[in-house]
Amino acid sequence: MSDIHIDGLTKQFDDVTAVDDISLDIDSGEFLVFVGPSGCGKSTTLRMIAGLESITSGELRIGERRVNELAPKERSIAMVFQNYALYPHMTGAENMKFGMKSVSDYTDDEIDERVREAAEILDIPELLERKPKELSGGERQRVAIGRAIVREPDVFLLDEPLSNLDAKLRVQMRAELLQLHREIDATTLYVTHDQTEAMTLGDRVAVLNDGQIEQVDPPQVLYDYPATRFVAEFIGSPAMNVVPIELHGDGDGVSARHEAFDLPLPDAGDLAGHSGGASLGVRPEDVSLARNVDGERWTFEAEVSVTEPLGESLLLHCLIGDDEIHVKAEARSEINAGDVIELGVDEERLHVFDESGDAIYHSSPRERTAEDVETRAEH
């Protein structure tokens, strides 16, 4: 087990900067997920940590050691690949053993013992004598994970390990990975493009875009307090609605003006200086039909263009002015395309982003959850 310190890590491929000055500290035993769209630099970051890519600039430390110049086998890491990376001509056990001689000083007996133990942990003793082509996708991935466990590394690196599995198996393996992480308690770095996977697995999630870290936080914080418009739209499905607004301040406070509404923002004193163009973000589940809102809350009108029954809810595509927003309504609501409906918003869950995409306002202040963050990290 080791902590990892990343300081100004940069990777330059010819004239493309794949990873641009990333800094991040990862605690010992933490499960950290890198998530982002393809080409965001998440895999390259992982591969630099593994030693498969050279580091253009910046420093990488695992524990107390600077490892920039160390060969992969000297870094005490093990990696699991998306396509399992099993040698087709070797059995499960041979795959797990191959390379152990060069990476460690264990005797054959010790290696056999470790393979047996890892197979126990993963519940795959019967797969050890089979070759990859006789295994299902899930079984192959278990062998590949076993391969990593046998090495007892300080750091586990997983590169999209579940992407080649079907949806059902993915959910099951996700739970197993979490349980495994609890059992062996090693520092784990996990790369995925799937935000659901990131949210369910990570102690913390680092959202990457264009080679840079947009935000690193526990999943719920990421969801509730996106630091940037990119994070807001990337995390959560269906994605957060973001519509252009004008901020307008007067004596009574600040309001968000749109051609279809004028929404007063609660406790928005900080925004007083920010008059001008911005965007308002609100998640589909934080918009609701006005008839379901108590009292004299603020409402606005929208025209339904498409309805998508999702089963547990009904997703409405609504037009407000020229902008489209998504609204999660109750399942089986009697609403059809073409209807004009009254909508209200949860005023506790509003976000405002400035023109550069940075969040400048959350209607419930983030400080409230600071303690939660602490507790999570300690855990």
Binding site: R47, L52, E53, S54
Partner: protein, 296 residues
């Protein structure tokens, strides 16, 4: 280039791994290859003991020699006949193999075996079977057509016979590539044409041949190289270049000039001409295969 970072960095090891290949290529290919150019500028006298620089004399005598002109002309004609004959016959068999519903793998082996046929064996067998007076095939052909095969004395007939043997030996190689190319054509194209009721011959010329064209170009090049460079045993065993120089292909003439008449300078100049022919063919193949890849 592979998409992974290369795992090994020791230049010393890379050098050692490449060394044996490089040593052989330099000693036995590049060095003699370059020497050919040098020797082609020299004249050897007194059985190879003395060499003098003669500039382009060898080339001049080559290009003004009517015997060389003749040899060059019949080699080109020979290559043309072999290439066209091989492609036509192979395409016919390959198309049948492609169309057949059952037993295609058995038929395939039965059709590609000439790939393993040594040229000297092909020459020996057909020298006898097509022998003007003893050959059984000659006998049948003569009874069927009423003409007489006198290819030991008739130049054009000898040329045709040698070409025929050359084609026979080359069928296997061509069928292998053509069947592979046909099998690579997406089935949907075949099916949609079938639904439109396109006939077999039309399918072949309008659909398959255009789609196979990269393979066909490759085969034209390989068959041409074969016709120029690998047909020595045929001439040596069947005709010795005769009758009346009718089968005195460049490769055979080179052998005789070098090793029978010991005219090493002149023979080297002939080698340089052969080099030019390979170079042009390889260049054509490279350019055309490049243009096909950009199409695809």
């Amino acid at each position: 280039m592979p998409e992974f970072t290369k795992p090994y960095e020791s230049r010393w090891q890379a050098f050692l791994l490449l060394l044996p290949t490089f040593a052989v290529l330099i000693a036995f290919l590049y060095y003699p290859g370059v020497e050919t150019f040098r020797l082609s500028l020299q004249q050897t006298i007194l059985l190879g003991t003395r060499k003098t620089f003669v500039g382009l004399d060898n080339y001049v005598s080559l290009f003004t020699s009517s015997a060389y002109h003749w040899s060059f002309a019949i080699s080109v004609a020979f290559a043309a006949v072999v290439v066209i004959g091989t492609l036509a016959a192979s395409l016919f068999v390959a198309y049948l193999l492609f169309q057949v519903d059952v037993g295609s793998s058995t038929y395939l082996i039965a059709a590609i075996w000439p790939y393993a046929l040594p040229t000297a064996v092909a020459a020996s067998v057909l020298l006898f079977l097509l022998h003007p007076s003893l050959g059984i095939i000659t006998f049948v052909l003569e009874s069927l057509t009423g003409t007489s095969l006198e290819w030991f004395t008739n130049g054009p007939q000898a040329f045709a016979i040698v070409a025929l043997v050359a084609i026979w030996k080359q069928l296997g190689y061509n069928i292998i590539f053509m069947v592979a190319a046909l099998n690579n054509i997406p089935e949907t194209l075949t099916e949609s044409a079938k639904l439109d009721g396109v006939g077999h011959l039309k399918m072949l010329y309008r659909v398959y041949v255009p789609l196979m064209s990269p393979t066909l170009v490759f085969l034209v090049v390989m068959n041409t190289i074969y016709a120029f460079f690998q047909t020595f045993p045929l001439v040596d065993l069947m005709t010795s270049g005769g009758p009346n120089e009718a089968t005195n292909l460049l490769i055979f003439k080179l052998y005789r000039d070098a090793f029978e008449f010991s005219n090493l300078g002149l023979a080297s100049a002939e080698s340089v001409v052969l080099f030019a022919i390979v170079a042009i063919l390889m260049y054509v193949q490279l350019r055309l295969s490049e243009s096909y890849t950009t199409y695809a």
